[in-house]
């Protein structure tokens, strides 16, 4: 019993320590430029979770991160380092814009079609990386980043040309009212329910189905997977495709489920970096889709609260992304808990 408890608590402790390191290091970065970290973090915390409106808004920020975290997590489970969520998410956002804004469909059907089309485009953009990995052994770190940048320019092209809103060069046509998720409060929409359901579905896929078992086995021990008759090619393909669907959903969430714009900006301003932030979220959530949901709420709070930090204390809100990076570096060190424990004992 206590061993089992230890297995559950230890990862939480590790994540907690890493988050603490990130926040302390962020404080030093503020001190370096003469800001008061205590005031800044207080403003952040109160802004993010100090009111109902703040909590709703933080959840709205968390929504896309929950699924971009799945992209990375499902990759890690198959021993892949899939950092292509960013580009796949752009494609998803574009897909949602195309079906949501340029096609007329009845109310319920429109929403479903737009969401599914967005997810499929995300998966489609993940496919080249999967094929190159399986066929030629091209490392996914390089291939997915190249695909991210190609996606950036391709989607910018589409927004600036065929799908631009007439008279407003800076953005694409907005999703029609029939393709918008109902608003719960502030900018939070029912999209969050779809996203959480997707995370649970991926959890079931990974831990309750044969293909999920195969995927995790390939990730843990490719040799054993081979003897057990598992196919690493199939596992890699499934991992990339599920990741692509997740990233596509993340893109859709910002178009069909995020007032007030309901559309994609040509600078990608409203979706930029969501894919990369998902990497940190996945690692804080210990590469578990449900863990990622909670980590995303934490990170959504940082993102939303960061704006208050900027408004009240003047600290640029980009600092939040820097904290994310430091947390990831801290989490890369498995020894960190052991080092701290040893120090305490001596």
């Amino acid at each position: 019993m206590s061993k089992r408890l230890g297995a559950t608590v230890r990862p939480l402790v590790e994540s907690g320590i890493a988050v603490l390191i990130g926040i302390v290091a962020g404080g030093f970065l503020m001190l370096a430029f003469g800001y008061d970290p205590i005031r800044a973090y207080t403003a952040l915390l109160i802004g993010a979770f100090g009111s109902t409106a703040g909590i709703l808004e933080s959840l709205a920020f968390a929504t896309p991160l929950m699924v971009t975290a799945v992209t990375f997590a499902v990759g890690v489970r198959a021993a892949l380092f899939n950092i292509g969520a960013e580009g796949q998410m752009y494609l998803g956002a574009m897909g949602a814009t195309i079906v949501g804004g340029a096609i007329l469909l009845p109310a319920g059907l429109h929403l479903i079609t737009a969401t599914i089309f967005a997810m499929c485009l995300g998966a489609l953009w993940a496919l080249p990386a999967a094929i190159l990995k399986i066929w030629r052994g091209v490392h996914e770190v390089v291939s997915t980043i190249m695909l991210n940048w190609m996606a950036f320019w391709f989607v910018t092209y589409l927004v600036r040309t065929y799908f631009g809103e007439p008279g407003r060069a800076e953005r694409a046509i907005p999703a029609l009212p029939t393709a918008r998720y109902p608003i719960i409060g502030e900018t939070l929409t029912a999209m969050i329910l779809v996203v959480v359901a997707f995370c649970i579905a991926v959890t079931i896929l990974l831990w309750r189905t044969g293909i999920g078992f195969e995927l995790r086995l390939v990730g843990d021990n490719p040799q054993a997977a081979k003897y057990a008759g598992g196919s690493s090619r199939r596992a890699i393909l499934v991992s990339f495709l599920v990741g692509g669907l997740a990233a596509g959903l993340a893109g859709a969430s910002q178009i069909l489920g995020r007032p007030p714009s309901w559309t994609l900006y040509a600078t990608m301003g409203n979706v930029l970096n969501l894919g990369f932030e998902g990497i940190g979220v996945a690692l804080i959530g210990r590469n578990h889709p449900v863990g990622g949901v909670f980590a995303a709420i934490f990170y959504g709070g940082l993102s939303h609260g960061g704006r208050f930090m900027e408004y009240h204390v003047g600290v640029a809100s980009e600092l939040v992304d820097a904290i994310n990076g430091i947390i990831v570096i801290a989490l890369a060190m498995p020894e960190i808990v052991a080092i701290i424990r040893r120090r305490r004992e001596s």
Binding site: G137, V141, M146, D321, G325, V328, I329, E335
Partner: protein, 330 residues
Amino acid sequence: MTIPRRLQWYLIGVVVVSVLMYVISLAGLGVPRLIETGLLAMTPLALAAIGECLNEQAGTVNVGMEGIFLITAVLGVYWAEVFDSGLYGLLLGSATGAVIGLVFGLICVYGKANQVIAGMGLNLLALGLGPYLLMSIWAFPGIHIFPRELMFQPMYFSMGDGYFSISPVTIAAIVLSVLAYLLLKRTLLGIRIRAAGENPIAVDVAGVSVGHIRLSMCIVGGALAGLGGAFMPLGWFGGVVKEISAGRGFIALAAVVFAGLEPLLALVAAFIFGFSEGLAYTVVVSPGVKEIVPFYFVQMAPYAVTLLVLTAAIGRKRLPRALGRPYVRE
């Protein structure tokens, strides 16, 4: 066995480049300007790739070069403005990169970190730290243009009725790739570096610290990437913006993979990738071409070329056996 294959690659490269040059001159584009741009684009890629070759030969992978590029590009400009000199900007940018390399090395060697995750963490850190520094130093989120006098000037050679310019940093990158090659293949230290990546136990038994070798290569790798990062604004663009690295750290990584950790081949790969970028810039501004090919597709070219070259070339190299694994004494 390996030498003829390498020669093959060089020959293919030379033929491809010559054919391209011929086509380009037929199309009426300026070949010297094109090569100049190609060499400029090559320089940061080559510097980072050479450093990463040494780094990986010793057994540490650093996928965080993109992050080092971004941080040192911003800080390089900052140092240049503080000391009122482009050269100081380059040198201190390189020193900044060395410090980042040192910290990364400590985390990987003594923290026994998962190197890919730590490197990605470095990239994510830069994704936030770059814009944060831009905002905190110059209080402006967009492009920061520094005074023209701070640009690190290239050397000009007269050539027929025109001229040809090349940055001393580019020449340094070429020289460094040869030095790195000689270091690895012809010196005792080079043997130790390669052994640290191949068989760290043997290095340890011989009484040489694996940790020190790996750490010093991390510092060298960081310093070279830092020089490349500072070169981008100070020797090339004339300004700094938060998207300045634009995936180049990963293109450098692709060059390392393509080269199978050989510094000379890494230089060739960096030239191919840099040249494709230079070609893209030339096409963008060429009358007759720019009307047909959308600007956005031209922007994709360097990434597509990287992916294609990597796909064509991969699968024939072997990497050091202990690459990416922390050394634990038993």
